[in-house]
């Protein structure tokens, strides 16, 4: 039996299927990975408080979070593995030429992932095999390696936006500087933005579980602390993230102006450009947008009359799809500011009254903060990935030159989608079960139960 191999004739349907499959599996993994990066630190903090104060509530929380972490880490490990398969199965053209250029951060990521997996195994399974202090210390490599993994992986993605560290002759890589490729100009803003995003998703995500419980009347110390610890982490980091986001946007203005032009729907290069909120882009114009005069020039270059480059600078076949990028960016920013307001609400109440907010509206909003942070995460990721189109390696290799020539990718996409639907349903069901499992009521908690206020 011999199958026709349509070498070098990738159909648009196949290309679309490959892109969709990559987007699905990466968009799925990125959420779980955020918990893998952010959750260990929050859990280790609770365990540390338990050791310091002997407070049983902290110990219960640490145990509970460790259980959820076990499930999330397993799912994250396998959904991450799939991505390394897909790098070759879907994008062999990219890997054949540039695998060696971006190999370094991935090799380092391999070691970080090793350390993370080893110490997570110890942390999750050795509560009764190690003295309490040693056990706490085994959580630290998990936190550090999680952040390091995120850093290394995003270095590789940053390289796709700012390819450096190689010479090319007739499509063949003739010289490589692996460290220059890894530490490319996009590395600092992108890695910091992503690592903070991971802590926001983990913090708001965990807090929203307890916000729901508090709304349902389980307003005891356990649930208030379970809310306050992760929420405080996320609320404190949100303004930092907005500042870093501004840095990332500045970076685009000078280093990847076409992406910024797509974000803003700016066609002609012009001076004193307004910031456009909302709207719909067609035929080189943004329609129905709310315009704030000169603000984009000000934000992008710290000068209200600065020149901002437009999409017209590059030929039409090198422009990203504007509406997707524009709206993804708007959604990310909107979610970021909504979360900033929510965090400020809690921090102001905490500062003035030394307690958590009591308003039900606060907890209703907080219950959605996890969803909002995930939405911001996905929207931000769409902005950076779709904003790079049609390039897989910006300015160097187009997506259609990277995709596999294998036929039948649509069928593969269908199967993979089915598996991810099942995986999503099962993950949510298992996490809900874990959250609902009755608490082993500890004596301390019964005594101090509802008399104390929660403390962030």
């Amino acid at each position: 039996m011999s199958w026709p191999v349509l070498a070098e004739v990738t159909t648009p349907a196949n290309l679309m299927a490959a892109r969709t499959q990559m987007a699905l599996s990466l968009g799925w993994h990125i959420i779980i990975a955020c918990f893998g990066v952010g959750m260990p630190a929050i859990t280790v903090f609770a365990e540390w408080r338990a050791l310091r104060t002997g407070d049983e509530t902290y110990r219960l929380l640490a145990h509970r979070w460790a259980k959820a972490m076990g499930v999330l880490f397993a799912v994250g490990a396998v959904s991450g593995t799939i991505l390394s398969f897909e790098m070759g199965v879907l994008w062999p053209g990219l890997m054949e030429t540039y695998g060696q250029v971006i190999g370094l951060p991935f090799t380092l990521e391999g070691f970080a992932f090793f350390i993370e997996a080893i110490f997570l195994g110890i942390y999750l399974y050795a509560w009764d095999r190690l003295p309490p202090k040693t056990h706490l210390l085994t959580g630290i490599p998990v936190c550090v390696a999680g952040v390091a993994s995120a850093f290394f992986v995003v270095c590789a993605n940053a390289w796709m936006n700012q390819p450096r560290g190689f010479d090319l002759e007739n499509g063949i890589v003739t010289e490589v500087e692996p460290w220059a490729a890894m530490f490319n100009p996009a590395t600092p803003p992108q890695t910091v933005h992503m690592i903070l995003a991971a802590f926001l998703v983990a913090g708001f995500g965990m807090a929203s579980v307890y916000a729901v419980a508090i709304l349902r009347g389980r307003n005891d110390r356990y649930h208030r602390l379970g809310f306050a610890i992760p929420f405080t982490v996320a609320a404190v980091l949100t303004p930092v993230q907005i500042g870093v986001g501004d840095w990332a946007a500045h970076f685009l203005a000078t280093n990847q102006p076409v992406k910024l032009a797509a974000i803003e729907g700016l066609y002609e290069t012009s001076q004193g450009v307004p910031l456009r909120i909302g709207g719909f882009y067609s035929d080189g114009e943004m329609h129905y947008a709310l315009e704030i005069p000169n603000l984009l020039s000000l934000l992008a270059h710290w000068d209200p009359n600065a020149t901002v480059l437009g999409l017209a600078e590059v030929p039409p076949d090198q422009r990203p799809p504007v509406n997707i990028v524009h709206w993804a960016f708007q959604i990310m920013v909107a979610m970021g500011f909504a979360l900033l307001a929510l965090g400020a609400w809690a921090l102001i109440v905490r500062w003035r009254r030394k307690r958590l907010p009591e308003s039900r509206w606060f907890y209703r909003c907080a219950a959605f903060s996890g969803l909002a942070s995930v939405l911001a995460l996905e929207a931000g990721w769409v902005t950076t990935e779709v904003g790079r189109q049609p390039w897989i390696v910006w300015g160097v290799m187009r997506v259609e030159d990277a995709v596999t020539p294998v036929p039948g990718l649509v069928a593969g996409l269908a199967v993979v989608t089915g598996v991810y639907v099942l995986l999503t349903v099962a993950t949510v069901a298992v996490l809900r079960r874990l959250a609902k499992a009755p608490l082993p009521l500890a004596p301390q908690e019964a005594e101090t139960g509802d008399t104390e206020r929660g403390e962030p």
Binding site: V71, A74, I82, F85
Partner: protein, 332 residues
């Protein structure tokens, strides 16, 4: 030895670790599959869960490490194999998802129905994943993956006698390793009954692995003559080492020396991989693509080897601690 030789050597060490350690985790899933009904198999499943729970994720990372080393050091090989082997690699990837996720889900579930469902997914995918990964190895070894994007046949590159042999061998060998490892775990857990059960399985699957490997020689003689001639000449000492180590492990198992039997069992399986490597050296993609034709730039190879040496300083003691910690009895 060139830098490329060192890197392929490192990759092969990592692959050996994955086949021995990760293989045993898959093999545990195979035994989970045949442990019997929910009640009868409960104690076996509990032992399997306790044994692989803390270590399977670390063992799994070896696979990722092999993949990353491959695309860094031999990008053309990575692109050729993964494009031609689109089908079995996609199936193996889905198997990896099902195995890892359902194992964690089962542990977190309490209802019998859910545990059964996740258990079935865990055990079923523990058979399918090593099988498909084995078919990929068989396709490469029998020279069915030419250099270039999807240059090989999308179906017959992995659906052929050598691939079938390698797939079955991967499953049987995994089951054998798992049974050997579980014997010692069962004894430490103090269960005479489970120890006996896994000893019988270890002996049975050990003989089965030997039979498949021996029978396989006939298959290779006709389907992969190049590999066959390598295995019977330059690689013969390694093949013999594998056979002898396998027999020693069976003798130790029969006499009840379970902890020691792990070593020759691991050697027997690891030597199979090294026999394959020696038989086709210096080719990477038989019949005509050699290591030096497809290796990355020397500066890339040097950096990769350098950071791996530094990484190993962190990795090795951590791994040793992980394994030692869970081989000791728990504290009060």
């Amino acid at each position: 030895m060139t830098l490329a030789d060192w890197l392929i050597g490192l990759m092969w060490v990592a692959l050996t670790a994955y086949v021995v350690l990760g293989g045993a985790d898959f093999g545990a899933g195979v035994w989970d599959l045949v442990a019997g009904g929910a009640r009868r198999g409960a104690r076996q499943r509990e032992l399997i869960e306790d044994s692989i729970g803390p270590v399977w994720e670390a063992n799994h990372v070896w696979l990722i490490f092999v993949i990353v080393l491959c695309w860094t050091g031999f990008p053309a090989v990575f692109a050729s194999v993964s494009s031609t082997m689109y089908i079995p690699l996609t199936l193996a990837a889905l198997g990896i998802i099902a195995r890892g996720a359902s194992f964690a889900f089962r542990k977190a579930s309490t209802q019998l129905g859910h545990r059964r469902l996740y258990g079935a997914a865990f055990a079923g995918s523990s058979v399918l994943t090593p099988f498909f990964l084995g078919t990929v190895a068989g396709g490469i070894a029998s020279g069915r993956v030419p250099r270039g994007l999807a240059e090989g046949d999308l179906v017959t590159s992995w659906w052929n006698p050598t691939s079938a042999l390698a797939g079955v061998l991967a499953v049987v060998v995994s089951a054998y390793l798992a049974a050997v490892f579980l014997c010692a775990d069962a004894r430490r857990a103090g269960s005479v009954e489970l120890t006996g059960a896994f000893r019988r399985r270890a002996l049975g699957s050990g003989f089965a692995a030997g039979a498949v490997a021996l029978g396989g020689i006939v298959v290779l003689r006709y389907d992969a003559p190049f590999l066959f001639s390598g295995l019977t000449t330059v690689a013969l000492p390694v093949v013999v080492l594998s056979a002898v180590a396998g027999l020693v492990s069976l003798a130790l198992l029969a006499r009840g020396h379970f902890a020691v039997a792990r070593v020759p069992a691991a050697v027997a399986v690891g030597a199979l991989l090294w026999a394959w490597a020696v038989a086709q050296y210096p080719l990477l993609l038989p019949p005509d693509t050699a290591i030096d034709d497809v290796s990355a730039r020397p500066e890339v190879l040097a950096v990769t080897l350098g950071v791996s040496a530094v990484g190993a300083v962190l990795l090795v003691p951590s791994l040793v601690w992980l394994f030692v910690l869970f081989q000791r009895p728990a504290r009060e």
